[in-house]
């Protein structure tokens, strides 16, 4: 007999929710993490066993419950880590600030990537409609910056290469903030109307783009330096010990 809990939708939802649980319980106290995983496994099983509707409906219910509860999962994780840090005498505030900086960097890097891709799509549309855009002025820089941004985000995801990732994002920021935005002056009716409406707007738009380039670039560079310094400080005791032995 095949009930809704035998459907591939339910099994897929269970797999995804279990992975999500493994993600947000990672590096917590092993006992607490295991309890949450076991409790969730029991809940997922019970929901499957008691379901009477379609497999798709059951899968959607499991997924909806996980998505709606995701903020609470993360908030629970944060409070568990805070407790663990307090017990271990670690400076939670300093670590939270560092983690917050990683999130902000990742969000800004992703937003830049989205902006660059959007500008590239508009360039493509412009090429199809023969807008007369000077492509050689924009295309190489934008393509290179999109690739650099994507590489930066990948490097950012690992603590060991985080500083390097921020440097790549800093390098990509010029092409994605400056060049991509300027290409939109040619390919976006909205942006070109703002830019060319009057002389004062042109000056203001130019200044705004320059300020944005400097701010974004400085943000990434600062984080790159900060993470490099933090990493060096962490490694210093090891190298000193090695130095003493050799």
């Amino acid at each position: 007999m095949s009930g809704p809990n035998q459907s591939r939708w339910y099994r897929l939802a269970v797999r995804v929710v279990t992975r999500w649980c493994e993600f947000y319980t990672r590096d917590l106290d092993p006992k607490i993490a295991e309890e949450r995983r076991n409790e969730l496994a029991s809940d997922l099983h019970e929901e499957g066993a008691s379901a009477t509707g379609s497999g798709l409906g059951l899968g959607a219910s499991v997924a909806t419950r996980a998505i709606a509860g995701a903020p609470a999962d993360l908030s629970w994780r944060r409070s568990e880590r805070r407790v663990a840090d307090r017990e271990a005498g670690r400076d939670f505030a300093a670590r939270w600030q560092r983690d917050g900086a990683v999130t902000a960097t990742a969000v800004l890097g992703t937003a830049m990537l989205a902006w660059g891709l959007f500008a590239l799509v508009r360039l493509g549309i412009g090429a199809l409609n023969d807008y007369g855009v000077p492509y050689s002025d924009f295309l190489p820089m934008m393509l290179g910056s999109v690739v650099a941004d994507a590489c930066g985000l990948v490097l950012l995801s690992r603590a060991r290469t985080r500083s390097l990732g921020a440097l790549w994002l800093a390098a990509a920021s010029y092409g994605l903030v400056n060049t991509a935005t300027r290409s939109l002056f040619y390919t976006s009716a909205t942006i070109s109307s703002i830019y060319y409406a009057n002389f004062a707007n042109m000056g203001l738009a130019d200044a705004a783009v320059r300020v944005a380039v400097v701010c974004v670039g400085l943000f990434f560079l600062t984080n790159a330096v900060l993470w490099f310094a933090l990493r060096s400080r962490k490694q210093r005791p090891t190298s000193m010990t090695t130095g003493g032995i050799s």
Binding site: V17, E35, R36, N38, E39, L40, A41, S42, D43, H45, E46, E47, A49, S50, S61, T64, R65, A66, I67, A68, G69, A70, P71, A72, D73, L74, S75, W76
Partner: protein, 114 residues
């Protein structure tokens, strides 16, 4: 976001205590999914995993509930993962009664104005 006052129960916590006592009377204890089903109105979505288990963890830590894992053999015999069984403590029952008492004057005032 405003911080909650210490000692003040959230609506979800009051619902958990109330539904938990009902389930406890019927079955001796209750577990997460049974509670989620009891809390949700028929035809409505079940309480989200994160919301439910975060609240249960918090209430257990504050002594409103007590929790223990079901013996592994019971789960194995029934062919399912073992459940985490909860019970409303005396403190939890008192907190619920007190919250219900506090709500009575407000409800009475509501009637007086209507």
């Amino acid at each position: 976001m405003a911080r909650r006052q210490t000692g003040v129960l959230l609506p979800l916590e009051l619902d958990i205590l109330s539904a938990g006592i009902d389930l406890q009377i019927a079955n001796g204890s209750f577990y997460g999914f049974a509670l989620a089903k009891t809390l949700s109105a028929p035809g409505h979505a079940l309480t989200a995993h994160g919301t439910l288990y975060k609240a249960l963890a918090r209430m257990t830590a504050s002594g409103l509930l007590e929790a223990e894992w079901e013996a592994s053999e019971i789960g194995e015999t029934a062919g399912r993962p073992r459940r985490r069984l909860y019970r409303v403590t005396g403190l939890g029952a008192e907190a619920l009664a007190s919250a219900v008492d506090d709500a009575k004057p407000a409800a009475a005032a509501g009637w007086a104005f209507s």
